[in-house]
C-alpha cells in the first residue's frame, strides 16, 4: 500500500480520542490492585490484633509513610513511562529518598542500640516471611498495572516493567503494614525494601515480553 493511501485511510475513520485514557486505566488498576492486596492480607495473613494500639506508635506511621511515599513517586513514573517521549526527570530521586531516609534512620538506631540488641532489631521475628509476603500482596496490583501499561505505549519496556513492579511492591508493602508486627527501622530498611525489590525485578524481566506493541 502507498503511504498516501494509508494516510487517507487513517484520517477517514473516527479520529477523536477521549482525553485522560492513561489516568483512567491507572485509576482502575490502582483501585483493584489495592483492594486485592488488602483482601489477600486480611484473608491469608490477618490484620495484626493490636493494630489500634500500634497506631499510637510513631514507628507505625514511619513504616506506612515510607512505603506510601515510594508509591506516590512511582505512580507518576508509571504514567510517564506509558507515554512515548515523556521523561522521568527527578522522579527516581523521589523513589530513592524514602529508602535513603529509612537507611539513615536504621544506621542511627543500630549505632545507639546496645550490641546484644542489634540482631533482633535487624532480623525481628518475621524476616524470613516479610519479603515473600510483600511480594505475594503485590501480585493483584502487578497484574492490573501491567494491564494498564499494555493498553498504552511504553517505549522503554524494561524500565516500564520495573516501574509497574515498583508501584505494585509499594502497594503490597502498604497493605502488609496492617499485618506486620515489626516496628524497627533496621528491619524495614532491609526486609521491606527487599519485598519491594522482588516485584520490581520481576517487572524488569517481564517488561520486554509483556509490554510489546
Amino acid at each position: 500500500m502507498k503511504t498516501e493511501a494509508l494516510i487517507d485511510l487513517l484520517a477517514r475513520g473516527p479520529i477523536a480520542v477521549e482525553a485522560g485514557e492513561a489516568r483512567r486505566r491507572f485509576s482502575v488498576a490502582l483501585g483493584w490492585g489495592a483492594l486485592g492486596a488488602v483482601v489477600l492480607m486480611a484473608t491469608l495473613l490477618g490484620v495484626r490484633p493490636d493494630l489500634f494500639a500500634a497506631m499510637s506508635d510513631p514507628m507505625f506511621w514511619v513504616k506506612l509513610g515510607f512505603v506510601t511515599v515510594m508509591a506516590v513517586f512511582a505512580l507518576p513514573a508509571n504514567l510517564r513511562l506509558a507515554r512515548p517521549g515523556a521523561r522521568l526527570g527527578r522522579l527516581p530521586w523521589g523513589v530513592a529518598a524514602p529508602i535513603g531516609l529509612i537507611w539513615l534512620l536504621a544506621v542511627l538506631v543500630l549505632a545507639q542500640a546496645p550490641a546484644q540488641a542489634r540482631p533482633s532489631l535487624l532480623w525481628g521475628h518475621t524476616w524470613s516471611a516479610c519479603p515473600l509476603n510483600i511480594s505475594l500482596l503485590s501480585v493483584p496490583a502487578f497484574v492490573m498495572l501491567m494491564w494498564a501499561m499494555r493498553g498504552l505505549a511504553p517505549t522503554q519496556s524494561r524500565l516500564a516493567g520495573a516501574a509497574v513492579g515498583l508501584l505494585s511492591g509499594a502497594i503490597g508493602a502498604m497493605a502488609y503494614t496492617l499485618h506486620c508486627p515489626e516496628m524497627s527501622a533496621p528491619f524495614l530498611a532491609i526486609w521491606y525494601v527487599a519485598g519491594v525489590v522482588v516485584p520490581t525485578v520481576a517487572g524488569a524481566l517481564l517488561g520486554p515480553r509483556m509490554l510489546r506493541w
Binding site: 484520517a11 473516527p14 507515554r83 517521549g85 515523556a86
Partner: protein
C-alpha cells in the same frame, strides 16, 4: 494533533502527511543499507501513531512523542530482522528526529514547528525540505523555485536564526 484529537479530519490528514515526510528523512538517514524497509517502517510508525494517539499529551512537544515512537519502531524492526549491524548510524546518535543540533534544546522548550513558522519562507522552506525531509539541495531548489545557492544560504541563515530564537526563549 490537538485539532485531530477533537476530530478535525483535515488537520489530522495534514499532520500525518507532514509526519510521513519527517519520518522518511529520519529513517532514510538511519537505514541507508536497508532502503527497501523505509516505506514499510514509515507506514508501521504512522499506524502506531494513529493507534496510540490517546497517549499524546497536548502539553508535550509533539516531536518528542513522535520521535520516541519512530525510534521504538526502528529498534523493533532491526531486532526482528536481526540486522542491528546494518544500522548506518550508531543508535545513540539516532536521538533526534530533526537533523540539526539545535533540535534537542528546541524539543525540550517548545515545538520546533512553532519556531519554524516564525521564519520567512526563503529560510523556512529550505530547512523543511533539506534538513527535515532529507531532500538534496538541488531537489529543494527545484521544489521551491529558489536557486541552489539561495537554498544553501536559506538553510544556513535559518538555522542561525532558529538557534538564536531557541536561546532567546530559554
Amino acid at each position: 494533533m490537538v485539532g485531530a484529537a477533537q476530530g478535525d479530519a483535515r488537520a489530522y490528514h495534514a499532520l500525518l502527511g507532514a509526519l510521513s515526510g519527517h519520518l522518511r528523512g529520519f529513517f532514510r538517514r538511519r537505514l541507508t543499507r536497508l532502503p527497501d524497509e523505509v516505506e514499510d517502517l514509515i507506514q508501521e510508525t504512522l499506524l502506531a501513531i494513529h493507534n496510540q494517539r490517546h497517549t499524546y499529551d497536548p502539553d508535550q512537544p509533539i516531536t518528542a512523542w513522535v520521535h520516541a515512537i519512530a525510534k521504538y519502531k526502528l529498534v523493533d524492526m532491526l531486532r526482528r530482522h536481526g540486522k542491528q549491524s546494518l544500522l548506518s548510524d550508531p543508535l545513540d546518535d539516532a536521538m533526534e528526529l530533526i537533523a540539526d543540533d539545535d533540535s534537542e534544546a528546541a524539543e525540550a522548550r517548545r515545538d520546533l514547528g512553532v519556531l519554524l513558522a516564525s521564519l520567512p519562507d526563503k529560510q523556512r522552506l529550505p530547512i523543511v525540505h533539506v534538513k527535515i525531509e532529507g531532500l538534496s539541495v538541488i531537489e529543494a531548489a527545484q521544489l521551491t523555485g529558489l536557486s541552489v545557492s539561495a537554498v544553501k544560504i536559506g538553510v544556513h541563515r535559518g538555522l542561525k536564526a532558529l538557534a538564536a530564537r531557541i536561546r532567546g526563549s530559554a
